[in-house]
């Protein structure tokens, strides 16, 4: 138990470190930005604001104070759970992120669901089958992986929305508006996952224990379901963990293409507009997600592979 506690504590410490690092990274990054923060603050709008306005901004955001001082106050506010106000939108960052989180989460989760579904079906049904079948499947997947997601999105949009009018063009109302973006996100990642799964399945099917299992007279489905799949899950889970980050990144493009609201767009605007507080807010958010996901992934490892559970030493029972 104490061991568990120690592990948990260690993890927590690591998490805090990562969050702090991420925040600092963001802070430094956008203070390294060349040029004058005030005009980034003015969002590069066609007007540049009168001198009075510029002075006001400088004062309000304390841009006249030395960098280190700004950093400290920034950290202090973070500790107080205050993410600050957006430069461009003049609103609390937490508010902005809060209201844009929904659509993105919706999109990412749906995509994730599709990915799992697609990968499992395609991998299990084609793994270790005739070369023709496998070739066709992995060929299609290869194509999907190699097509830029935004490009895929544009194509889907033109076909299904403009011409066939099956799905709404844009927005975030109702499930219909979710279909195309989710599919766009899911196709490349799903293909990747399914390839990993298939490889895992096939290498598992070559293991001696698979041979043993078959020598007991079980059928191919039982072999895949009962034996191979669990082994294939280990690499799949690893990829899955990475994939969450990929999805978040993907939303930037997909939300742009499908004109969906969401954190992806916010991120793009904030980064290109050097909206420091928002950027840092997003960085912290994705770092938090990353940490959670990693914890889950590690948990899954233990769930899948008993050998990783440190449950007692190898019993050297004299047989």
């Amino acid at each position: 138990m104490s061991r568990f506690a120690r592990a948990a504590l260690h993890r927590l410490g690591g998490a805090v470190l990562v969050l702090w690092g991420a925040a600092t990274l963001g802070f430094l990054a956008l203070h390294l930005v060349p040029g004058d923060p005030v005009s980034t603050l003015l969002g590069g709008s066609v007007t540049t604001g009168s001198a009075a306005v510029r002075a006001e901004i400088t004062r309000e955001f304390g841009l006249d104070r030395p960098l280190f001082e700004q950093y400290l106050t920034f950290l202090g506010r973070l500790l107080g759970g205050d993410l600050g106000r957006s430069y461009q939108q003049q609103q609390p960052v937490s508010l902005i992120i809060g209201e844009q989180l929904g659509p993105t989460a919706e999109l990412a989760l749906t995509a994730f669901g599709l990915i799992l579904l697609f990968a499992l079906v395609s991998a299990v049904t084609t793994a270790g089958r005739r070369r023709a079948v496998r070739g066709a499947a992995s060929g299609a997947e290869l194509l999907a992986i190699s097509t830029p997601p935004f490009w895929l999105g544009v194509l889907l949009l033109t076909l299904f929305s403009f011409h066939l009018r099956l799905f709404p063009v844009a927005g975030a109302e109702g499930w219909e508006s979710l279909v195309l973006p989710a599919v766009t996100l899911a196709v490349p990642f799903g293909s990747l996952l399914s390839q990993v799964l298939r490889e895992g399945l096939e290498s598992a099917l070559h293991e001696p224990f698979a041979l043993t299992a078959r020598s007991r007279g079980i059928g191919p489905l039982a072999l895949r379901g009962r034996h191979a799949l669990r082994h294939a899950l280990v690499p799949a889970v690893t990829l899955g963990g990475w994939l969450v980050g990929g999805l978040l990144g993907g939303t930037v493009l997909v939300e742009t293409v499908f004109a969906r609201p969401g954190l992806g767009r916010v991120a793009l605007d904030a980064v290109t507009g050097h909206d420091l507080p928002v950027v840092i807010g997003l960085i912290l958010l994705s770092a938090a997600v990353y940490l959670v996901v990693n914890t889950v992934v590690d948990g899954l490892y233990l769930l899948i592979d008993p050998r990783l559970r440190g449950a007692g030493p190898v019993r050297e029972v004299a047989a």
């Binding site: 004058d36 003049q90 609103q91 949009l157 290109t272």
Partner: protein
Amino acid sequence: SSAGPAAPGGGTGGTPVRGGTLKYAVAVGTSCLDPHVSPGDVTAVIQRNVFDSLVYLDDKGAFHPWLAKSWQISPDARTYTFQLREGVTFHDGTAFDAAAVKANLDHVKDPRTKSLYAASLLGPYTGAEVVDPLTVRVSFAEPYVPFLQAAATPYLGIASPKSLAEKADQLCAGGANSVGTGPFRETEYVKNDHVEFKRNDAYAWAPEGAANQGAPYLDGLTIRFLPEDSVRSGALTSRQVDAAALPVSAVRTVRAAGVEVTRTQNPGVVYSLFLNSTRGALRDERVRRAVQRAVDVDALVKSIYFGEYERAWSPLSPTTPASYEAGLKDALPHDAAAAGRLLDEAGWSARDGDGYRVKDGKRLTLHWPYIASLVRDQRDTLAAGIQADLKKAGVELVRDSIDNGTYFKVYASGDYDLWDNSWVRADPAILAGFYLSANTPAAGGQNVSLSSDPELDGWLTAGAATTDPAARKANYTKAERWAVEHGTVLPLYVTANLIGRSEGVRGLVFDANAWPQFAGVWRTR
């Protein structure tokens, strides 16, 4: 009363029907929905539904009473007195009165508001005085004729003083925070997605002469942000929105799909390329003029904008009231030979390996910075075309992508050769912003050509000082000519709003800025 806003376009036939909602799609979103702060056109278009103005300027350039029943301008054009309409209430129930007007104007001027445009519209504003509950007097340090037009813009729209006081830090967030007297109440704003409006049933103070004097016909209005051009037009053709601001690239397809497209040219400064007359090769006027002639604007505009946009000859748009210098048409047609001659004269006769002109070892290179995130309307394509044309003439055009951070440095320090801009405003006074020697970028102005000429300054100030249209026009046309003939500007095209609306959307009219007005819109069943 005069024709008023019942302007052409928008299919006004038939008797209006109440009910229904309208989905309107615009291209760019906005980071702040407070017209007192944001300079964006889109902010004005959106918030026009919420905020009424003291006066209404129709697309003929005629002023009409609105929140102000009547007004007087002192002969020296320094004081404006408005008699306000009674019985007007804000969405939050509070009454509209002189105090409200004062509160708004002061709010705009207050540095803490960080106004990026509205404040400049107030010009030499010194203050407003509440003469009586329904009379307000606005004073300026010097003659300021453009004020009436300024007062007509949504940027100086009147918001509930209560909201200004209580929601000071949330005004940008729009939604329920935007409280005006307008025909619609703003119920929701989801950034990057949409703004939601409901009818203001109490509305009974439409601009004089407006087709619909009462509350809007529509129950509700939704303005959606669809930055992707293809998405926006796709949404319209697939009937997912009822009307949309269209990209030129889509007009043809959209028309084919049976959508009606109305084009209304914006007043103000057309989309033009300004030549920095204080730097490098461009100091030589011949080189500037050569650039003007080297570019085949006609061909480019035609091919890129499919003739939807009119090629511009003057920095001012034809629809700008009391100003347009029609005489400039065909003043400087494309003429590669002439351009070559000018450059040779200017001493740029030698060529280097890449075919670019050189003078004592230096290549004739022009820098044209831009902010990638602000590029729209195929303007990058247009630029590429200009680049190609200049290359033919032996001039190298380099486009440096700068970001918001470096923007100001470059802009204010005049560290560029070319700078593009356009500005919608229904008053020639805008030209002062671009050519008054005082209005340098460093000073927050738009004089990017860094022209400074006493005569020019004279015309521009005179134009702002007189109320007589003829006199104004005389001044401004001189300015326009000067600008073109001294090669400080290459007018490109007259920006226009291309608005597509599906069958059954009626009564859509446009104000002087060519911005759509939704109060009179109704839908056929």
